[in-house]
Symmetry: C2
Subunit: 109 residues, 2 copies
């Protein structure tokens, strides 16, 4: 769902990835990483989508209170291991962008 | 695909949306808006993904040289019309976040 984030400024990590065709272990890891991220200090929410057709491009955006919270999450031991296995097995390529959210606005029917 | 963006800093618009079940006209509009965005001054690239299962959450991230380029795109007449029709027909809810990309890094097999 759309993450309920506080008033800006806050921070976002945009993780855009193209998967390999190795599925084994990926789903469990993805679920576990969301659970683990939710427990980290400064975590504000996350959103994730992946195309089912064509190139399997996926975008996950996680939101954080500070750059320090993002750094700590990047260095978290279990997350580090998932990143390493990800590079070896699940991801053909990815790009991570660290951003400061300056403004936001909403629409709801 | 993953957008080829220049060295930071640059800007990102994260558009997260939940669709209604109205499909008519949506695909054509989405294609047209990407074409039109690509023609705008300061446009750097875009990435898009939507879940096929569960809540149809979609994430589109577009990248821009400046906040002014983002403002101009938001106000573009044809884009304004698409936004209006979007609120009336295609989107149940959405959130737009304007960000400054501070850092990025890549991985490729």
């Amino acid at each position: 769902m759309i993450a309920k984030t506080p008033e800006p400024p806050y921070y976002a990590v945009i993780f855009t990835s193209v998967r390999t065709d190795v599925a084994e272990g990926y789903g469990d890891m993805a679920i576990r990483m969301v659970e683990l991220a939710e427990q980290q200090p400064g975590f504000l929410g996350a959103e994730s989508a992946r195309n089912a057709e064509g190139v399997a491009l996926g975008i996950t955006v996680s939101y954080w209170e500070s750059l320090e919270a993002i750094r700590n999450w990047k260095r978290h031991a279990e997350h580090q291991l998932a990143q390493q296995i990800g590079r070896e097995r699940w991801y053909e390529r990815y790009k991570t962008r660290i951003c400061r959210v300056e403004r936001d606005y909403d629409f709801e029917q």
